[in-house]
Symmetry: C2
Subunit: 182 residues, 2 copies
DNA sequence: TCTACTTATTCAACGGATTGCGCAGCAATA
DNA sequence: TATTGCTGCGCAATCCGTTGAATAAGTAGA
C-alpha cells in the first residue's frame, strides 16, 4: 500500500482533480507502475474521510463538474511520517518463474516460445523507456529528474530480465535437446 | 493470480500437505516470492472444491493429523492450459520510487539514509542468494536447476536495484549540496 | 451525421493478499 | 518448570486491485 502516499506526493505541488492525478500518474510513476482511475478516486475518498486532503467543488460548463483536491496539514504529517518509516523491499511476483518450473515437466518448447514472447515485450518496453529517458535527460530540468530516475529503474529492470532470459535459454538448451533457434 | 498454479506445479512431483507446500515454497520459488500458510491452505481448499486436487486424510500420533494433497487429471489439464496462456509481465510496485519523488520535496537526507538501508538489505540478500546458487551449481542436478534459475532471477534483480541506487545517489548529490558520504 | 474520444466522477462485484487470532500437542532448552 | 519452536490446520476481517459499467456533455474527425 503506497498509492495513498503517491497521491499525497503529487498533491504537494498543486491542487488536482482525480482525473488530473490519473493522468499525472500515467506520465511519471505510472510509466512503470500504473494505477487505474477507480483506484485513485477510491483512495481520494478515503483520504478525504481521514482529513488528509480536502476539496473544492468546481462547477464547470461544457464539462462535468470536478473536485479539486488539496493536501492538508494532517496529510503532510502523514506523508512525512511515512517517508521516515523504512519500507521492506518489494517481492518479485513473476508468474513466469512458476511457468519455468512447471513447463519443464510438461512442455519445455512451449516455455521457450513464451520466453521469446516475453523477451520481445521487454525489449519493446526497454526502447520506449530509453527514448523517453533520453528526451528527459536533454531537457535536464529539476522537475523531470524524478521521472527520469523512475524511467531508469524501469530500464535497468528490463535489462536485468533480459539477461536472466539469456541464462534461462542457455540452461534449457543445455539440458534438453532443443534446436538452437526458435 | 498464480499461486494456485504454483501449488499445482509443486504437486506434480509428489503428494504434499499444506504445511509441506509452505516449506517447499520457502525453499524454491519462495526464496524470491513468499506465500503465507494461510494463503496456501485457502488455495488448497478452493482447488479441492474445483476438483483440481484431492486429498487423503492421514491420522498421526504425536503430531496433528494432516491432509496429503495430490493433483488430479483436471488439475493437470488446468495447469497445462495455464502454461500455454501467455502472461503479462508484472509491474514494478516499489514504494521506494514514491519516496524519492516525495522526499526530495521535504527531506532529501532522510531519503538518502533509507537508500543506504535498502542497499544494505539488498546486498545481504544478494550474497545469500549467491551462496545458495553456488552450492546448487556444484551439485548440478536436474531437479535443482529450476531453483537455481529462480535464484539467478533474484540475484540479477538485486544487482539491477543496486545499480539503480548508484544512479539515484549520484543524481541526488549532483543536485543538492549534500556530503559525499553517509 | 454518426462515431469516437476527452473530461469527470462513481458504483458494484469479485478475487487476491495480508494480518491477526485460535486450536492442538510434542520436543528441546533455558 | 516455563518458554520457545516446530508440526499442522483453520477462520475472520480487512484491504488492495481489477474489471466492468453507468452517466453526462462537449468536440473532433470519417
Amino acid at each position: 500500500m503506497s498509492l495513498r502516499h503517491a497521491i499525497l506526493v503529487l498533491l504537494q505541488d498543486q491542487e488536482a482533480s482525480g482525473y488530473d492525478l490519473a493522468r499525472e500518474f500515467a506520465n511519471s510513476i505510472g510509466l512503470v507502475w500504473n494505477a487505474t482511475h477507480q483506484q485513485i478516486y477510491l483512495e481520494l475518498g478515503k483520504l478525504n474521510e481521514q482529513d488528509m486532503v480536502k476539496y473544492r467543488h468546481i462547477p464547470q460548463d461544457g464539462k462535468p463538474d470536478k473536485k479539486l483536491y488539496r493536501i492538508t496539514d494532517a496529510g503532510r504529517d502523514e506523508l512525512i511520517r511515512w517517508l521516515r518509516k523504512p519500507a521492506a523491499p518489494p517481492r518479485i511476483r513473476d508468474s513466469f518463474m512458476v511457468k519455468i518450473a512447471g513447463g519443464a515437466l510438461s512442455e519445455p518448447s512451449a516455455v521457450l516460445r513464451e520466453l521469446e514472447d516475453q523477451a520481445d515485450l521487454r525489449r519493446e518496453r526497454l526502447s520506449t523507456f530509453e527514448a523517453l529517458a533520453k528526451a528527459l535527460a536533454e531537457r535536464n530540468s529539476e522537475k523531470d529528474m524524478y521521472t527520469y530516475l523512475t524511467l531508469r529503474r524501469g530500464i535497468l529492470d528490463q535489462q536485468a530480465w533480459l539477461s536472466w532470459a539469456d541464462e534461462v535459454r542457455a540452461e534449457l538448451h543445455k539440458r534438453e535437446d532443443l534446436p538452437t533457434s526458435a
